[in-house]
């Protein structure tokens, strides 16, 4: 393991973390403001990826595809919020989990009905397809670098939105006291729909970005959803800053665990056993991280009690 490879792996961890943040931000906003556990968040991610793939194959433009992913996921978010989610705010979490789980099944089968069961094609745009040379002789895929850049821009934009704008003020107010902002004359129904659409659009955007380098298939959202939940639990539920820090922690821990643990075990075990133990432990690493953080901070890094 040399330094160049280590830096490259850190970049990989960062890229994974940034992508997770796009998912986790929406999830944590929705939970923080509306108190809703939305298991269907992964489906919105899938919708974004499929919309992007469909538009990319029809028009050949990746920019249009990204816009389509934002629009399609936001639209799906608005429809879902108005038709289903709105009725769940006053219910307990079990009802919400049941209803949003049903939404996963509906979205998955609906997508299968429209696009078929086989993964569909979506590729990285030609302009970003190669690698770029970074200092110290590191060569890194341009597309992954672009994901890091876009993710950081979105994170900064969200930060500005939450701390500097009126809608951000209302979101924060909604987090601390739902009844009171209603009493102050804010139209809560519209606010909730807007937040849900924002979270959905971010998830769809993440799906489209990642879809270009992964498999665009039915059910692609669920594994990411689990990681996104781990992220917001680590970061503290409801906190955007927590989601950002949590996402980077999860991304780096997972990537570095996968690389370093087998090497570590090889120091005192025979290679094939070390590989097996290292791989097994690496897939647990983020959950161990979560357990360790919750042990010391039961509400997560930035969670309020």
């Amino acid at each position: 393991m040399n330094l160049v490879l280590l830096i490259e792996q850190l970049l990989n961890g960062l890229q994974f973390g940034v992508m997770l943040f796009l998912m986790a931000a929406g999830l944590t906003l929705i939970f923080g403001v509306m108190g809703l556990i939305n298991l269907a968040h992964g489906s919105l991610y899938m919708i974004g990826a499929f919309a992007a793939a469909a538009v990319a194959s029809a028009t050949g433009s990746f920019t249009l595809a990204l816009m389509a992913s934002l629009a399609a996921a936001a639209l799906a978010g608005v429809i879902v919020e108005m038709v289903v989610i709105r009725r769940l705010y006053d219910r307990d979490h079990l009802d919400q989990v049941l209803a949003t789980f049903a939404l996963i099944l509906i979205f998955s089968e609906g997508t299968r009905w429209v696009f078929g069961s086989f993964p569909i094609y979506l590729d990285v745009p030609a302009a970003l397809s190669g690698g770029v040379n970074l200092p110290f002789g590191i060569r890194y895929p341009a597309y992954r670098l672009a994901i890091i850049g876009i993710g950081l821009v979105v994170a900064f934009g969200l930060f500005l939105l939450i701390t500097r704008t009126r809608i951000g003020m209302r979101i924060r107010a909604g987090e601390s006291d739902r009844e009171m902002i209603g009493a102050l004359g804010v139209n809560i129904a519209v606010l909730y729909t807007a937040i849900f659409a924002l979270g959905a659009a971010l998830a769809g955007f993440a799906g489209a970005l990642v879809g270009a380098i992964q498999s665009v298939e039915v059910g692609m959202g669920e594994p990411v959803l689990i990681l996104a939940f781990v992220t917001i639990v680590i970061g503290g539920i409801g906190s955007i800053r927590g989601a950002f820090v949590g996402a980077l922690l999860v991304g780096l821990t997972d990537t570095m665990g996968r690389v370093l643990l087998p090497i570590l075990f090889r120091a005192f075990m025979e290679p094939s056993a070390a590989t097996a133990v290292g791989a097994a432990l690496a897939s647990m690493s983020i959950y161990i991280l979560m357990a360790a953080i919750l042990l010391f901070k039961p509400t997560g890094l930035y969670g309020s009690a």
Partner: protein, 379 residues
């Protein structure tokens, strides 16, 4: 929907015939029809149903269930199919970990199980059973052939990659068994992993002539797209599961030139294969994958056994299955004593035919290949 009408026809036929003819076979098919691995299960099911339909027999009733790629769901479905549906024979499972959870209990209850895909080593060796037949392959088969091919073609150092589950380990062990060169490194990833940036960086910096990997379904798509985009230039080889028709469409040109081993290919010149490919395209409007071919062979095997014996006479039916008296779409086919196939494994290369990225046979990797676990099988 042609598929739906086919299923309806099969159902209707069995319903009307059920009462009149009690001597038919009731098949329980547990396969993956939802989630990321659904493409594989759907192909097995469609291939199987096509063979049943073409046989013209109306005394085969098929109950299809979706295991969602979850072992616990598969076990529940198997219990239900055996106990309340009273099926005579089970088939359909795609994944080795599910097969390990279901097959031993099903065969212990005296039912037949014909595997159209998964071939874990445990069921070919010590855990073999008179009622367990595998039409597809033992997990190691394609890999043993690939290992032999790599040695013969001057590959000296190889990097190995597979998911961390029974089939992944079998596949890599199979490759190593007949590969004489050096191993630069071997990496096991989490099953279902979709981001391979960390592994690709390791591969690029590794000192190896070739990358050999087994990543079925969506994992292979994600990997190959990321590998091609990373600027890595090591040649790639793998068993056919990572480069099958359903996968190639989603990877696109990034897969061109990749070599893979398979017992079947749509361009294989053996009797019945061209007809199978043609009728599959006509029925389902897509190219068949090797899973579809395996499903089709499973159907043919069942029909051939039914013509010779009645399933209520288990011993006669077993002998009829052992005879494997059908024309496999992969050519010569026989069962070894452990009920796993003896067949030829071919080397294919990913090429572009017109606008379609697909596989083409370029040679034979292993003639009349049989698995190496049979010696441990006592039955």
């Amino acid at each position: 929907m042609k598929l739906k009408s086919l299923m309806l026809a099969a159902c209707a036929a069995t319903m009307t015939m059920g009462a009149a003819q009690a001597e038919g076979v009731k098949v329980g098919m547990i396969t993956t029809l939802s989630g990321g691995g659904a493409g594989l299960g759907i192909d097995v099911r469609d291939g199987f149903m096509l063979a049943v339909k073409q046989s013209g027999r109306s005394d085969i009733e098929v109950v299809v269930e979706d295991d969602q790629q979850k072992p616990d769901v598969a076990v529940q479905l198997a219990d239900r199919l055996v106990q309340s549906e009273k099926v005579d024979l089970l088939t359909g499972i795609i994944w080795s970990n599910l097969a390990m959870a279901v097959v031993p209990s099903v065969t212990a209850q005296g039912k037949f199980y014909i595997s159209p895909n998964a071939g874990p080593s445990a069921l070919a060796g010590k855990g073999c059973h008179p009622n367990y037949f595998n039409v597809a392959w033992q997990n190691d088969a394609f890999n043993e052939a690939a290992g032999a091919w790599a040695s013969e073609n001057g590959i000296e150092k190889v990097f190995l990659l597979a998911p961390n589950y029974p089939a992944g380990k079998d596949m890599i062990a199979g490759f190593k068994r007949f590969y004489k060169g050096e191993i630069a490194d071997e990496v096991y990833t989490k099953l279902g992993q979709n981001d391979y940036a960390a592994e690709i960086a390791q591969i690029r910096s590794a000192d190896a002539d070739m990358l050999y990997y087994f990543l079925p379904g969506g994992m292979g798509i994600s990997f190959m797209k990321q590998y091609a985009g990373s600027g890595a230039d090591k040649p790639v080889m793998g068993p056919a599961f990572s480069f099958d028709q359903g996968i190639l469409g989603a990877i696109g040109e990034a897969a061109l030139g990749v070599k893979n081993t398979s017992h079947w290919s749509k361009d294989l010149d053996v009797p019945g294969n061209a007809e199978f490919v043609e009728s599959f395209i006509e029925e389902f409007d897509r190219l068949p994958s090797l899973y579809a071919a395996q499903g089709f062979d499973t159907g043919l095997l069942l029909v051939s056994a039914m013509e010779k014996a009645d399933i209520s006479d288990a011993d006669a039916f077993r002998t009829a299955l052992e005879a494997a008296d059908f024309q496999s779409v992969r050519g010569d086919f026989e069962f070894a004593p452990n009920h796993h196939p003896i067949h030829t494994i071919y080397m294919r290369e990913v090429v572009k035919e017109g606008d379609v990225v697909t596989n083409k046979v370029i040679g034979v990797a292993a003639e009349d290949h049989t698995d190496s676990y049979g010696v441990d099988c006592k039955m």
